[in-house]
C-alpha cells in the first residue's frame, strides 16, 4: 500500500506570490484572537502530571524512622552513579537496633541525577520518592550534593503501605493525624 505524493504545479496567479502573502496575513490575523498558548513561566507554573519525575528525596515513616535500610540497591542501579550511601548499624540504644541497618550518609548528586526514577522503582522499602520539584538551583557544586538531612527534609513523612513494624506496637495506618500518603498507587 503505497501512495505517490503529489507535486503541485503552481498557477500563474500563485507564481506572483500575492496569494501567499495574503494567506499568510490572514492566518496570522486568525491566530491573534485565539487563546495564548504560552505561559508566563516563573509566575505561572505548568501543571504537572501525576507520574512526573522530579528530584529524588528520602522519606521517614510516621514514627520518625528513616525508611532507608542501606541495601544500596538504588546506588547499584543508578545509571549515572549519582547516589552514594554509607551504611552503618543502628545505635545500640535504639529499640529494634538489630533489625535493620541505616544510612550514615546518603548523598545524591543532583548535578549527576538524570531523574530516570530507577531508584524509586527498585527501592524494596519505599524509602526514596521522586518529588515534583523540577527547578533545582544552587550557587556551588557542593550545595547541590544533597546529603541525608537535606533529602529527608525534602521528602517528609510517608506512611508505610504494608506497615512492617506493626508487631512492634506502632499505631495503625488510619490513626488520626496520620499524614496522607503521597504518590500512592505508582507502580514500582
Amino acid at each position: 500500500m503505497t501512495m505517490q505524493v503529489e507535486r503541485p504545479k503552481l498557477t500563474i496567479w500563485e507564481r506572483t506570490y500575492l496569494p501567499q502573502i495574503l494567506h499568510g496575513l490572514w492566518l496570522t490575523l486568525k491566530h491573534i484572537p485565539q487563546r495564548k498558548f504560552t505561559r508566563q513561566y516563573p509566575e505561572e507554573k505548568p501543571p504537572l502530571h501525576g507520574a512526573y519525575r522530579g528530584a529524588p528525596t528520602l522519606v521517614k515513616d510516621p514514627e520518625g524512622r528513616v525508611k532507608c535500610v542501606s541495601c544500596q540497591l538504588c546506588e547499584f542501579v543508578c545509571p549515572p552513579k549519582a547516589i552514594r550511601i554509607t551504611p552503618r548499624a543502628r545505635p545500640e540504644d535504639v529499640p529494634d537496633a538489630n533489625v535493620e541497618k541505616e544510612p550514615e550518609d546518603f548523598v545524591i548528586d543532583m548535578l549527576r541525577c538524570i531523574y530516570c526514577g530507577y531508584c524509586e522503582e527498585v527501592c524494596p522499602e519505599e524509602a526514596i520518592f521522586l518529588k515534583q520539584d523540577f527547578a533545582i538551583a544552587g550557587y556551588t557544586r557542593e550545595e547541590l550534593r544533597f546529603h541525608k538531612e537535606k533529602l529527608l527534609e525534602l521528602g517528609g513523612v510517608q506512611p508505610d503501605s504494608i506497615w512492617k513494624w506493626k508487631f512492634k506496637g506502632a499505631p495503625p495506618l488510619d490513626a488520626p493525624g496520620a499524614p496522607k500518603r503521597e504518590g500512592a498507587g505508582r507502580k514500582g
Partner: protein, 412 residues
C-alpha cells in the same frame, strides 16, 4: 545499469583536514560550515570546497557529540541502558525506547502482551509526529519561513505534554522496560490524545498552505539535493529520505513489528528525490501517523502491559514488600540484570529519521558483550556529498534541513 560515483567517504574528517592544508589551485576556496552553524542542527562540521558560490565537494565531519554510548552499554545491565536510548535521537526518545526494548526482547526470545504493543505503537507514532514537526519547522525556518516553526512548535508542545503524562518526563522518557512498560498509560492520557488527534490535522493543513504552494519555498527546495533511487539504495539511506527518492521501503510494512500489521496506513513515496519530495513525504507521514494513532486508540486491547516473567521484569512492588520469593527475584533482577542467552541479534525499527537498529552480541548474563547502534542519521549523512555537489552554497542549508538528522544519534 549501475552508475559509478567518485565518492570520498572513507575518513572524510582526515580528507577535510588534507584539503584545508593543501594549496588550492585557481579559484577554489575551502570553508568550514559548522560545527556551530545554526542550520547544522547540532554540531556537524561540513568542509566545503567552493568554486565561487558553487559547491565542488563537501565532506561531513562527524563526532563532535560522541559520548561513547556503545561502550557505556557494555558496562551496565540491559535495563540500565534504557535512559541512554533517550539521548540517541533526542527528538524522538519514545521511539528509541520502543526499538531498544524490542531488540532486547528479540534476544531473549520473548513476546509482550498485545496492550503493550499497542501502547508502544502510540509512543512510536507520537514520536514520529513530533520529530517531523521539528524537521519541517526548522526546514521552513532555514529557508526563511519563520511562521511555520512557531506553529509546529506549538503542536510539539502538546506532544511533550502527552509524553510527560504517559512517562513522567518530557524528553527523557525512559518509558519502556524489557518485557513491558514502566507503567500502564494513565487514564487521563486517552482523552488528551483524542483531543490532540482532533486538533492536529488543522495544523498540518496550515503548514501545508503556508509552504507547499509557496513560490519562494518551492524554488528553494525543488531540484535541490537530488538523490536518485539507485544512489539512495547504494548509500543505505533510510526513512523519509529514502522514500522521498521513490523507494518503497518502510520497515513497518516490510517486517512488521509491534503489531503494525494490524494497522491500515499508506507509505508515501516521492517521485523525483529532491528536497521538496522529502518535505512532501514527511507531511504525508504525519497524516498517516494520525491515522495509525486513531486506529490504535480505538482498538486498544485490555489486559496487562507487562509480561509476567519475574526473571525479566521487576515483580509487583506490593509483593516485594511482603513476600520473600519476590524480594529475592527483585534483588537478583536489579543487581545481576536479565540473564540473556548467548547469541547475536539485530533488530531494527522504522524510527522518524529512518532505520534505527540495535545489534546485540550477548555472551550470556546481564550485560551485552557488544551493542552496536545503527543510527539512521549517521548513514543518511553519507549522501550529503552527492546531494550537495553542483549546488550553491546557500542550498546547503536546504539540503541539511531536508536530510533532517540529529547529531545526538549520529555521533552517539
Amino acid at each position: 545499469m549501475t552508475t559509478k560515483h567518485e565518492m570520498e567517504l572513507i575518513d572524510s574528517a582526515a580528507r577535510a583536514q588534507q584539503v584545508m592544508e593543501e594549496e588550492l589551485a585557481g579559484e577554489k576556496m575551502v570553508i568550514n560550515m559548522g560545527p556551530q552553524h545554526p542550520s547544522t542542527h547540532g554540531v556537524l562540521r561540513v568542509v566545503l570546497e567552493l568554486d565561487g558560490e558553487e559547491i565542488v565537494n563537501a565532506w561531513p565531519d562527524v563526532g563532535y557529540l560522541h559520548r561513547g554510548d556503545e561502550k557505556i552499554a557494555e558496562n551496565m545491565t540491559y535495563t540500565q541502558f534504557i535512559p541512554y536510548t533517550d539521548r540517541l535521537d533526542y527528538l524522538a526518545p519514545l521511539a528509541n525506547n520502543v526499538t531498544y526494548a524490542y531488540a532486547v526482547e528479540k534476544l531473549l526470545g520473548m513476546d509482550v502482551p498485545p496492550r503493550c504493543k499497542y501502547i508502544r505503537v502510540i509512543c512510536a507514532e507520537l514520536a514520529r509526529i513530533s520529530s517531523h514537526l521539528l524537521g519541517l519547522g526548522s526546514f521552513g525556518m532555514d529557508v526563511g519561513a519563520m511562521t511555520v516553526f512557531l506553529y509546529t512548535f506549538r503542536e510539539r508542545e502538546k506532544i511533550y505534554d502527552m509524553a510527560e503524562c504517559i512517562s513522567g518526563a518530557r524528553f527523557t522518557t525512559s518509558y519502556t522496560r524489557i518485557g513491558g512498560l514502566a507503567h500502564d498509560m494513565p487514564p487521563e492520557f486517552v482523552p488528551m490524545l483524542r483531543k490532540f488527534l482532533k486538533e492536529f490535522p488543522a495544523t498540518i493543513d496550515e503548514v501545508d498552505k503556508l509552504l507547499t504552494r509557496n513560490r519562494i519555498f518551492c524554488e528553494r527546495a525543488r531540484g535541490i539535493g537530488m538523490l536518485t533511487k539507485a544512489d539512495a539504495i547504494d548509500l543505505g539511506v533510510t526513512g523519509p529520505c529514502l522514500r522521498g527518492s521513490g523507494v518503497d521501503w518502510d520497515i513497518r510494512k516490510a517486517h512488521p513489528y509491534s503489531s503494525y500489521e494490524d494497522f491500515e496506513f499508506e507509505v508515501p513515496l516521492g517521485s523525483v528525490g529532491d528536497s521538496y519530495d522529502r518535505y512532501l513525504v514527511r507531511m504525508e507521514e504525519m497524516r498517516q501517523s494520525v491515522r495509525i494513532l486513531q486506529q490504535a486508540i480505538d482498538n486498544l486491547p485490555d489486559g496487562p502491559v507487562n509480561s509476567p516473567d519475574a526473571k525479566i521484569l521487576l515483580p509487583d512492588k506490593e509483593a516485594v514488600l511482603t513476600k520473600m520469593e519476590e524480594l529475592i527475584h527483585h534483588f537478583i533482577n536489579v543487581t545481576e540484570g536479565i540473564n540473556a542467552p548467548p547469541g547475536e541479534v539485530y533488530f531494527s525499527a522504522e524510527n522518524p529519521k529512518g532505520e534505527l537498529g540495535f545489534y546485540i552480541v550477548s555472551k550470556g548474563g546481564g550485560t551485552p558483550h557488544r551493542l552496536k547502534i545503527r543510527s539512521p542519521s549517521f548513514v543518511n549523512l553519507q549522501a550529503l556529498p552527492i546531494m550537495a555537489k553542483g549546488h550553491m552554497m546557500s542550498d546547503m542549508v536546504t539540503i541539511l534541513a531536508s536530510l533532517d538528522f540529529v547529531m545526538g544519534e549520529c555521533d552517539r
